[in-house]
């Protein structure tokens, strides 16, 4: 294959004295769905945030489509075509649903906003019903959908999702994953951080397993699903 879209090479990052990432290497090709699983505190969120320069990378290199991210200021990353849907949704609570979506266009400007709003409402019909409502009045699942839609509003080439299933009922998780599948079938490259190993590995082409700030394993979804260690650690054997 040719050059990967996102290429992370031997990256270290730390919060003060705590080293949260240790020699992390991984890559994602255009059009792939790649998942990263790992226990609480493994460093998954840290890896995503370090793409945005917070915490800063102390060693190693990150390239996005040939551009070195480590030399870019944090607020420039999004406009390169990377959208992050942060862990815990982080919607703008006192803004309406539509305003939240409009905020999502920050990295690219409002050129395509009407077209993209329509697209999002097609993808998430519930958001259209609620578009005048304050985001704080949405249910957890609806907020997660809003966070994903807000991320998509910047027309990213790479979508980073941090635990979209966090605190959601199984049926809503199912719904969200089927929407992600739809998004991916449109050619979107997705990097999915998950605790919900079963769902994540079924959706993804490939996956990585992280523990204590290191990448322990990597392989295709089915490979990892049948791996004894992974089964023991995440699915109770």
């Amino acid at each position: 294959m040719n050059q990967p879209l996102l290429d992370i090479q031997e990256v270290d990052a730390s919060y003060g004295p705590i080293q949260a990432l240790n020699q992390v290497s991984m890559h994602i090709h255009q059009g792939e769905i790649v998942t990263l699983v790992g226990a609480n505190g493994a460093g998954k969120s840290t890896l995503l945030m370090s793409l945005f320069g917070n915490p800063g990378v102390t060693r190693g290199e990150i390239h996005f489509d040939g551009t070195a991210l480590t030399s870019q200021p944090g607020h420039k990353i999004a406009s390169l075509g990377i959208a992050l849907v942060p862990e815990g949704r982080h919607v703008f609570a006192q803004m309406s649903v539509e305003e939240n979506l409009i905020m999502g266009t920050t990295p690219i400007g409002t050129k395509h906003v009407h077209e993209d709003l329509e697209k999002m409402y097609e993808l998430f019909p519930i958001l259209e019903e609620r578009k005048q409502q304050n985001a704080s009045t949405l249910s957890g699942g609806e907020q997660q959908m809003l966070a994903i839609a807000r991320g998509l509003m910047s027309r990213p080439r790479l979508l980073l999702l941090d635990e979209p299933s966090l605190g959601l009922a199984p049926i809503v998780v199912q719904q969200i994953f089927s929407i992600l599948k739809e998004v991916a079938s449109g050619g979107m490259t997705i990097f999915l951080v998950e605790q919900n190993v079963h769902h994540a590995l079924k959706l993804a082409n490939r996956g990585y397993v992280m523990a204590n700030g290191r990448i322990k394993l990597g392989g295709t979804g089915t490979e990892l699903l049948s791996n004894r260690e992974v089964r023991e650690a995440y699915m109770g054997g």
Binding site: F52, N54, P73, G74, H75, K76, I77, A78, S79, A83, L84, V85, P86, H90, V91, F92, A93, Q94, M95, S96, E98, E99, I102, M103, G104, T106, P107, T110, K111, V113, H114, E115, L117, Q132, N134, S136, T137, R150, G151, S154
Partner: protein, 445 residues
């Protein structure tokens, strides 16, 4: 509850049992309130120091307690009637969220009300006495201060306890600019705004990473530093003695009785001298400026920068992931707010004709913050109302000036109970994507 409601709808059909119960409850309420009042007022009002001795002032104590008892009794009885219940419900609605107005729901008579206010405001200086003109000028100065701080605290969510620093910089800017550089009101007005904005940036840089309490403490310190410098740098600022500040001029015409060169305003227009002319003039400029700031404020909230301020207040992590440059966003909030505060300072100096450091204490910062919080964080209308309430009320109630702080406290307590989000809930029209694109889209369809 439903049954209760039916009863209270038809007061005549109240069973005597029910009535008795209500009266007993009200009496109990009133009794408890009186006991509390005794604990509060007993030592303050009931005892009067007389040398090393003290005297019991039973008469005034009993009369205060009597008023409180009957007041509470009446209130208690009233709140059990159907009107009372409705009133209570109306006030205790604890909806703390910001209201976002849908796009198509425009206030139809909004322009009329604005026009009416403008007209009334323009007539005031020609009808009111000089005293009232000065009171309203002070009110408008606090409106400016409130609007400035509202940008920082209400919109961007950065708690600033040292806002008085920018007020002081504006005021001293005019006074010192006149003293050392010979600059007048009109050249110092933009310069002082600029100076205040620059100090806003100066404050903004070190506090970029701070939030909430920490930010509050640092800004508090900043306010005190500015005041202490003004107080102690005697050669430059005149220290506690202060500096005099110039009055504005109308195309070079001065508002003094006699001037060294040229003709004063009243002679030029063939009027007899009146010291009120100066205040009328200040009033008119300030009035125009307040409207200008209101307009700019209104525009800003609709522009990307206003949106970014609100986004920053709502969620910093989300802002980071959306690539908002939070350095720029925070600095712009600090600088815009500070510039407005600086302008208020210039008007304060020219209105007093003199500045000294005692006008810029922490109490002043607290008052401005109270205006913003009472008005309703983020609500422009609320800030304007609260600024007038808190500055004009003390003038109206001069006879009760000893109780000023008590009333202030009372007002705060009542607000916290009934309107925890301020007098006027922040309402804004929702963000609009650019109109031209919308029209183009509709044209295509």
């Amino acid at each position: 509850m439903a049954i209760d409601y039916q009863y209270s709808n038809k007061p005549d059909s109240l069973s005597s049992n029910e009535l008795l119960f209500r009266i007993r409850k009200s009496l109990l309420d009133a009794f408890i309130t009186t006991l509390l009042a005794l604990a509060v007022f007993g030592p303050i009002v009931g005892l009067e120091l007389d040398g090393y001795d003290f005297q019991l002032q039973l008469k005034s104590l009993v009369s205060i307690l009597g008023v409180i008892f009957t007041g509470r009794l009446v209130a208690s009885l009233f709140f059990q009637t159907s009107q009372g219940e409705k009133l209570l419900e109306k006030f205790s609605r604890k909806d703390t969220s910001i209201r976002v107005q849908p796009l198509n729901q425009k206030a139809a008579n909004g322009y009329w009300i604005i026009a009416l206010f403008m007209l009334a405001g323009l007539m005031v200086p020609f009808l009111a006495s000089k005293y009232w003109i000065t009171v309203i000028i002070l009110g408008m100065i606090y409106v400016l201060l409130g609007l400035g701080l509202n940008i920082v605290v209400g919109l961007a969510g950065l708690l600033d306890l040292g806002f008085v620093a920018f007020y002081a910089i504006g005021a001293y800017g005019l006074a010192l600019g006149h003293e050392y550089l010979g600059l007048g009101f009109w050249s110092m007005l933009p310069l002082a705004a600029l100076l205040a904005a620059l100090s806003g940036a100066l404050l903004g840089f070190p506090v970029l990473r701070m939030h909430g309490d920490y930010l509050a403490i640092v800004t508090l310190g900043f306010g005190e530093i500015i005041r202490l410098v003004l107080n102690n740098w005697t050669q430059f600022t005149g220290g506690p003695n202060g500096v005099s500040a110039p009055a504005p001029t109308l195309f070079g015409l001065e508002f003094k009785r006699r001037v060294k060169e040229g003709t004063p305003f009243h002679e030029y227009f063939g009027l007899s001298y009146d010291s009120a002319y100066k205040f009328i003039f200040i009033y008119l400029i300030l009035f125009a400026l307040v409207w200008a700031v209101l307009y700019i404020n209104h525009r800003l909230t609709k522009m990307p920068v206003g949106r970014a301020w609100e986004a920053l207040r709502e969620d910093e992590i989300a802002c980071r992931s959306l690539g908002l440059n939070h350095v720029l966003v925070k600095l712009s909030a600090f600088m815009t707010g500070a510039a407005v505060g600086g302008i208020a300072g210039v008007f304060f100096a020219t209105y007093q004709g003199f500045v000294n450091p005692t006008s810029f204490t922490f109490f002043e910062s607290a008052l401005i913050l109270a205006i913003v919080v009472l008005g309703g964080l983020g609500s422009t209308k609320g800030v304007v109302i609260a600024a007038f309430v808190l500055t004009v009320m003390p003038e109206v109630l001069r006879d009760f000036s000893e109780y000023r702080i008590l009333m202030f406290g009372l007002l705060m307590v009542l607000m916290m109970i009934w309107r925890p989000r301020g007098l006027v809930r922040m309402t804004r029209s929702s963000f609009q994507p650019p109109q031209t694109v919308r029209q183009a889209m509709e044209g295509v369809r």
